[in-house]
């Protein structure tokens, strides 16, 4: 089956930096595809080339097997990372403006309901909270009832509650069978929402696949996490490999019993010990030697 979107050997060269350096991947119909990576990895540039907003230095973007045509804007829903709206308009009026720009569109009331904007429908869009504004931008992205939706870091800067609410909306969009391309630097978000992810770093894709499969491929161990002060003393000389940060010790191992014994022997307090499976953040660290949000 032809993928909905496909990019081949995408390159974007800016005067001083190669933002995208030979990126290829494809997205199948109905999939939520995540581009995960730290700030500056080239996610936004990649997405904007796919949206047809930025031009590529070389490489191709295919929509249902064809190069992006004039009609693509009618069928794609786009939420930019940063956007400013027209001032002095209410949420309802802003949505009315955007829906009228498309031949095929959802009704304003439907969009308001879908994105949980009922409470603020008559409010000036400059007086929205961060979460409300992101929901409005999502509603704008859905104005033309798109089959493909681009969400560029939609939850950056939101508080945890607002972020969770936004995830619920994305889940609902997925449930309607729409294809979603999401960029994020929150691994939890990618793990929860995405069927497939591509991890980007410095303009390249360094790993790609379903999140659980990626983790299984790279890891067969778990992580023991405890506060630095509970660990006590110098971490050097501990019999197992570990990662020490300013306030935390992480021990990766397949032998949990052995690790626990070693900890008890050095007199560490296990009161706040946590054993967790490997996550995408660990994977990024494993692949690049750097922390995702460093």
């Amino acid at each position: 089956m032809t993928p909905v979107l496909e990019v081949r050997d995408l390159v974007k060269q800016y005067p001083s930096v190669r933002a995208v350096d030979g990126v290829s991947f494809s997205i199948r119909e109905g999939c939520c595809f995540g581009l995960l990576g730290p700030n500056g990895a080239g996610k936004t540039t990649t997405v904007e080339i796919m949206e047809g907003v930025t031009s590529a230095t070389s490489g191709v973007v295919l929509y249902r097997g064809e190069p992006l045509g004039a009609g693509f804007r009618d069928e794609a829903g786009i939420q930019f990372q940063k956007t400013s709206l027209q001032e002095f308009l209410t949420v309802r009026e802003t949505l009315a403006l955007f829906t009228r720009l498309y031949p095929k569109r959802r009704s304003v009331d439907e969009l308001i309901r879908l994105c949980a904007l009922e409470q603020v429908a008559e409010r000036d869009n400059r007086k929205l909270s961060g979460g409300q504004l992101q929901r409005l931008l999502l509603a704008i992205a859905l104005a033309n009832d798109p089959r493909v939706i681009f969400l560029d870091e939609p939850t950056t800067g939101l508080d945890p509650q607002a972020r969770r609410n936004f995830w619920d909306l994305v889940q609902a969009i997925k449930a309607e069978g729409r294809t979603v391309l999401l960029t994020t630097h929150y691994m939890e978000e990618a793990y929860l929402l995405c069927d497939e992810i591509a991890i980007m770093d410095r303009g390249r894709i360094i790993a790609e696949g379903p999140p659980s499969q990626l983790l299984a491929e790279h890891f067969d161990d778990v992580v023991l996490e405890l506060p630095r002060r509970d660990f006590g003393g110098d971490p050097a000389g501990f019999p197992l490999p570990l990662l020490a940060t300013a306030d935390r010790i992480e021990i990766s191992t397949r032998d949990v019993e052995g690790a626990l014994r070693a900890l008890l022997e050095r007199g560490a307090s296990l009161r706040q010990l946590r054993i967790r499976p490997r996550n995408l953040e660990d994977l990024f660290l494993e692949l690049t030697g750097r922390e995702l949000r460093a």
Binding site: D74, F80, L97, F98, L101
Partner: protein
């Protein structure tokens, strides 16, 4: 060009404008200040000062030796050529000149029977000439400076509203990223531009009409022609100046730069388009240069209607030029339009 999309952007811009109280008030306040200033300066009687044009034999000095009348003090005597006789008689009809005296042969003079200053100047002439001068009476209502200046002031106010109103807003949209968001929709630059131009046109014509009404109550001025035709001239002029402003804003990404560029464009218009004074005496090339400015065409057409009662056929060429300029400016702007600031 999709009219539904155009209408959507137009409507949103109108809402924004109506709700932006500070800007809205300023847009009405500035013209109001103009009305008040006008009423104070021109509301009273015209000042007494005689202006007499003289047609003298070639080489003769304009002094009492030629004719005793020329020795009268506090009278401004101006020599004219024989070719200007007809034009000067028109000026007498319009009260722009109080008296025209022809001293080439037996003295004769033209006086406007409706002009109080003409009446007094005539008395002075007959006193000094011992009654020996042939009278050529004309009639006609006065064209005071205020009648001439008023279209200029209204036009200037429109020009600033048109250039800055649309130019500044578009640059702000670009800087804030709103244009970038619109660029991801099917809206074209031409649709967006036309919506901005039409929105501003509505506002400018409303303000100018109100201003015209208020002035006609406070400072009775002359309009010999059709108010409807005058409105058409104003609409065509505003259209071309707004399109000019949109063209200026087609690429700039900072408000400061746009303001500077628009200022640079508005000052020549203010000086060369005949807002304050006529360019009749200026060098030919300067007058030609002024023809490139939309304000020149609008003011000339407006004065033709208001002062001479010109009809549609007389101002049709100007209307055509103004609409043509608008189309040209809009096309240039759409072709080079920038949606994003980076």
């Amino acid at each position: 060009m999709n009219l539904r999309r155009l209408a959507a952007v137009w409507h949103a811009r109108n809402l924004e404008f109506l709700r932006d109280r500070a800007t809205l008030i300023f847009n009405f306040l500035f013209p109001l200040a103009l009305v008040v200033a006008f009423a104070l300066i021109f509301g009273g009687e015209p000042r007494a000062l005689f202006k007499v044009d003289v047609l003298a034999p070639p080489g003769a000095a304009l002094d009492a030796g030629l004719h005793p009348f020329l020795g009268t003090r506090h009278v401004d005597f101006v020599r004219i050529g024989a070719d200007d006789l007809e034009a000067t008689i028109r000026k007498v009809e319009r009260h722009q000149v109080d008296l025209l005296v022809d001293l080439r042969a037996a003295p004769r003079y033209w006086v406007n029977e409706d002009s109080p200053k003409g009446y007094l100047a005539e008395k002075l002439l007959l006193e000094s000439a011992g009654g020996r001068a042939a009278r050529q009476p004309v009639t006609g209502a006065a064209v005071r400076y205020v009648d001439w200046l008023l279209p200029g002031i209204l036009g200037m106010n429109m020009m600033f509203s048109c250039l800055f109103g649309v130019g500044y807003v578009v640059v702000r949209y670009r800087k804030s990223g709103f244009l970038r968001r619109l660029s991801a929709t099917p809206v074209t630059a031409l649709e967006f531009g036309a919506a901005q131009v039409l929105s501003r046109l509505l506002l400018t014509l409303t303000v100018t009409s109100l201003l015209y009404g208020a002035l006609s109550l406070l400072v009775p001025f002359r309009n010999e022609g059709s108010v409807l035709l005058l409105f058409a001239v104003a609409a065509a002029g505003a259209l071309s100046m707004i399109a000019f402003g949109f063209m200026m804003a087609a690429r700039f990404t900072s408000e400061e730069l746009a303001t500077g560029a628009i200022n640079l464009a508005s000052w020549p218009m203010m000086l060369l388009s005949g807002v304050w004074f006529s360019l009749e005496g200026a060098p030919q090339w300067l007058q030609h240069a002024a023809r490139a400015l939309p304000l020149t065409w609008m003011l000339d057409a407006a004065r033709a209607v208001m002062l001479d009662g010109a009809g549609l056929p007389a101002v049709l060429p100007a209307l055509g030029v103004l609409v043509g300029m608008a189309v040209l400016f809009l096309a240039i702007a759409a072709a080079g339009f920038r949606w994003r600031s980076d």
